[in-house]
């Protein structure tokens, strides 16, 4: 049985259209012009236990809105959500009991108090037994180094420290589903690394199901086997990252510097450019391997230097986004 099931989810907001100029502002004061904005149009997916799913899309695609609906904060306009078999619309409390949520752009920690106070409160809210609490704290301390920050007031923490605190707060009650909404936003390399390591660790040791929204494709590359790409409120891709790369960018480029000007052709490789002693080939991964191609060319002329270029994940995602919008 899937842990999370989303069927034909739709969310529309009424929003007041701001009108132009002073005249418009005055008009808006008395007779606001309302329009309906569709944040999420038709989204369906299902996620099995233990998966880490990258939920990505450009700004305003409806990622956060979906996460908020799945955690019972927003009510869908239509469609169905089941988390652990329970609908967050019907029973928010029952769903969030087994759910951890981190919003990268805000904190659930108490701003004015030491970090430990927030943990103590959550321990009581979720009714976490003492042994489980200390076990979880010890496990998280190892990766997130909580001991060094637990006595600092939250407002004095750096963004990276705060995010570590927020992650720990979301995991204190050992939830089996974790929603991470841009957990690495604005973090430095070290902090990102710690957070990715933590996500990996809990997924491996506890089989925690994780949905991760992010704009950092490093997160995706390191953590997610499966990605769901949405744009304008609909799913445009859902599958493994490798599959997506194979489909959108099945080619590689081989840049070869010869000692002299050469023009060597191969039936499986297209010559993209040939300037001076440098030749750039493009070939399909499934038609010929890079090694075979190099060996063939090397047999014909002496090679000085080679470089193999792969389509970057950024390019792939960009193609996926624009592909979705031109359809």
């Amino acid at each position: 049985m899937p842990v999370i099931e989303v069927k034909h989810l739709k969310k529309q907001f009424k929003s007041v259209r701001k009108q132009k100029g002073l005249k418009g502002a005055v008009k808006g004061l008395f007779r606001p012009e309302k329009k309906i904005v569709t944040a999420v149009d038709d989204i369906s997916f299902s996620i099995e236990r233990g998966e880490i799913v990258g939920y990505i899309g450009p700004n305003g695609a409806g990622k956060s809105t979906t996460v908020k609906m799945m955690s019972g904060i927003l009510r869908p306009t239509s469609g169905e959500i089941l988390v652990n078999g329970i609908s967050p619309v019907k029973d928010r409390k029952a769903v969030v009991k087994h759910l951890g949520v981190v919003f990268g752009q805000r904190t659930q920690l108490y701003w004015d108090l030491r970090l430990g106070e927030s943990f103590e409160l959550l321990k009581r809210i979720y009714d976490v037994p003492d042994e489980v609490y200390s076990e979880n704290m010890a496990m998280m301390d190892e990766i997130l180094d909580l001991k060094s920050i637990v006595d600092t007031p939250v407002r004095q923490l750096s963004l990276g420290q705060r995010m570590r605190g927020d992650l720990a707060a979301a995991m204190l009650h050992s939830p089996d589903v974790l929603f991470l909404d841009e957990p690495t936003i604005g973090l430095d390399v070290d902090a990102k690394h710690a957070i990715r390591r933590f996500i990996k660790e809990i997924n491996e040791t506890r089989k925690t199901t994780i949905i991760l929204t992010t704009h950092d494709l490093g997160d995706i590359q390191e953590l997610c086997k499966r990605i769901i790409i949405i744009n304008k409120g609909v799913v445009i891709e859902d599958g493994s990252l490798d599959e997506l790369i194979d489909r959108i960018a099945p080619y590689r480029q081989l840049v070869i510097d010869f000692y002299t000007e050469q023009h060597i052709e191969h039936p499986n490789a297209e010559i993209v450019s040939c300037e001076g002693s440098r030749t750039v080939y493009r070939f399909m991964k499934n038609e010929i391997s890079a090694a075979a191609l190099i060996e063939y060319i090397g047999g014909k002329a002496k090679i000085k230097d080679i470089r193999l270029e792969e389509a970057s994940i950024d390019d792939i995602i960009r193609v996926a986004y624009s592909g979705g919008s031109t359809e």
Partner: protein
């Protein structure tokens, strides 16, 4: 329950972090209390009694009213408005607790904090300037306490219902401040209703405000016999129950329409 007690405790700790705010608020309240007290002393001058209330009773009324208002601190309004405006309502809603019980627990924390850092210091200042604000009798004092608790219930439920407006309109501007002054005026917290024109006074008895301040205070200074007091308590209880029903209905509707600002 453990969690809500901890919330109240954390609220007290949070308030402690804002010392300047605490002291300035205290000074402001003491000044207001002294001003209103001296105002009544001047108004009464040589007059024995007006509307069956003597000058001393009126000063007692004022002092107790100010002490009450320091305990009637309605954090729930700003709490909900801020949570909706900043979008932090999202982090309240990811916890398996009732939102409004959470806000109520925070206000209990506010009361305990204010008791020590506002009510008691104000009481001491009042003691020095005006002497002890003596209740009409011990019996009246206990009846007042019950009436005070019901008054708090009415006040909190009314404020919480009012604060639900924040769920549908993102920026309420000075609405809460307008409401605050309205309630102050119509509840008799500064000027008792018996000084109001008769038509207005009669009308106000059909609104819940008088049951927040005026009626508990009238019980304290002995304007009613103990039997009359019990009737007043009964009316308060009915108002409280009625407002609870309205609140339960309104909060159900409001939380369905929650909007979360930002990313």
């Amino acid at each position: 329950m453990k969690a809500y007690i901890y919330v109240a405790k954390m609220r007290i700790q949070t308030m402690m972090a804002y010392r300047v705010h605490v002291w300035t608020f205290l000074i402001m309240q003491c000044l207001l209390m002294a001003a209103v007290g001296f105002f009544w002393r001047a108004v009464y001058g040589g007059t024995e009694a007006a509307h069956g209330v003597s000058g001393d009773m009126m000063i007692t009324y004022t002092v107790v009213s100010m002490l009450m208002s320091s305990l009637y601190y309605m954090g729930v309004e700003d709490r909900i408005a801020d949570a909706v405006k900043s979008g932090s309502i999202a982090t309240d809603m990811i916890k398996p607790i009732n939102l409004f019980t959470l806000y109520f627990a925070e206000d209990i924390g506010n009361i305990i904090f204010n008791l020590f850092f506002s009510t008691i210091p104000m009481f001491i200042v009042a003691l020095i300037i005006f002497g002890l604000p003596v209740p009409a009798s011990t019996e009246h004092f206990w009846l007042f306490l019950a009436s005070f608790v019901l008054g708090y219930g009415i006040n909190w439920t009314f404020s919480a219902t009012f604060a639900l407006l924040a769920f549908s309109a993102i920026d309420l501007g000075p609405v809460f401040s307008i409401k605050y002054h309205f309630v102050n005026m119509l509840s008799g917290s500064i000027i008792p209703l018996w000084f109001f024109p008769e038509w207005l006074r009669n009308a106000l008895y059909f609104l819940p405000f008088v049951y927040m301040y005026q009626e508990p205070l009238s019980i304290y200074i002995g304007k009613y016999t103990p039997e009359e007091c019990l009737i007043k308590l009964g009316i308060q209880a009915v108002w409280f129950a009625g407002l609870m029903v309205v609140f339960a209905f309104a909060q159900n509707r409001a939380t369905r329409r929650v909007l979360v600002q930002g990313g």
